[in-house]
Symmetry: C2
DNA sequence: TGATATGTGTACCAGTCAGTAAATAATACG
DNA sequence: CGTATTATTTACTGACTGGTACACATATCA
């Protein structure tokens, strides 16, 4: 007997991991590919600058299909942000695992340069471009993006504080200040990228920034 | 005989500088005050995030009055940007007159900190928040803003090159790189301000950044 | 062969967008 | 006074916004 995932009692609405057959008409588009398309659009035009028509046209699907698969515009955006964090923006978390504070900062900056200078991606950073300034209708999305940027700063700060305890960051240095500085540089590079800065130019900004590193 | 400005042959549509009486119903609102209100709105919500209804409601005028006084939404935005450049964003140009390259950079950063950390203003920078990411409808405004940021960078670069010729910047330093670095820091601080950074926090970012300054 | 479950396509909803036509009100000038 | 000029008010336009109702298509399962 074939025990496919569909026979297992899964929480309501939860899709099985195995691509087991399920009743009903099969989806005619690739969800992951559609998410990728949506990410690139939101990345380029921001949350409010991207209309549902923009999205469905680019994804090649109809409006009800989008709603059935992703909820609504806001939920789709959040799924896109999540995907961004574990995809193109991966370096923001992986950099934290570097052995020393300096290497963490360098990895963070190098990762930003590689992402922002990549001509295959929209110019800029989704976390900055997504909903920096917008109407009051999107205030919640805007605040969430700000909260995520703050969270990245906090994680960085905690990593630097640990480094200080471990002795690879001078006691005189302020972990919070350093974290904020790295954030300022990477986010500033995101704006520069939107103005057309090249990878080499961004790289030199990063190099210059690291000259401010203590010790 | 009274030679008021209105008797002088002015180009069509050109308003006289003197507030001389003119035929027709007098305007019931203060144009400068309305511009100030519009600036604060665009500053906070960006170009696309601010609707004409937002504008007219805040200005306390009707839609046709706005069109009669400012042209249309895009022209109003450009007037606002101009006002911003000679008002709150004044430091971007005035800093260039400092005697040395280092003082120019310091003034630029200090000016940004003062502006971005001022609780009386929207958090952020109009040149960054105004139209960073938007729909294709506003691509022209978006490009103009990017061009203005690039222009600021170029002016800074030229100032640093002059400083190098004058001997107050090491020959090994690259004026273009330094200009781009200062831009990255100030624009990064604009994003930080949008995330809620205080004036003191921004100030420490600026202090840290200046530690990268050559010699 | 149903019966059930899911996805797609069309066509629509109310609300908002930027922009404007036309009537009226308020001023200066002669 | 009348005329010319400008501003305000109301009401509107067509296009677009995010979101959905409903008929139909396509799959599994009994």
């Amino acid at each position: 007997m074939d025990i496919s995932a569909s026979t297992i009692n899964l929480p309501k609405g939860m899709k099985s991991l195995k691509t087991s057959p399920s009743p009903g008409r099969p989806r005619a588009f690739d969800v992951e590919q559609a998410l990728e398309t949506a990410m690139n659009l939101f990345w380029k035009q921001g949350y409010e600058g991207t209309s549902l028509t923009d999205l469905t046209d680019a994804m090649g699907i109809n409006r009800p299909s989008l709603y059935a698969a992703f909820g609504n515009k806001e939920e789709l955006f959040r799924k896109v942000v999540k995907r961004y964090g574990s995809g193109p923006g991966r370096h923001a978390t992986t950099s934290l695992t570097e052995p020393t504070a300096r290497q963490v900062a360098e990895a963070m900056i190098r990762g930003s340069v590689n992402l922002l200078g990549d001509p295959d991606h929209p110019r800029g950073c989704l976390m900055v471009h997504g909903a920096l300034a917008c109407s009051e209708d999107s205030a919640e999305v805007q605040q969430d993006m700000a909260a995520m940027r703050c969270s990245a700063e906090t994680q960085l700060c905690e990593r630097f504080a640990r480094a200080q305890a471990e002795g690879d960051l001078p006691a005189a240095a302020d972990p919070a200040d350093l974290a904020r500085f790295v954030q300022a540089v990477t986010q500033g590079m995101a704006v520069l990228a939107a103005s057309g800065a090249t990878k080499e130019e961004l790289s030199r900004v990063g190099e210059l920034a690291m000259r401010a590193w203590p010790e």
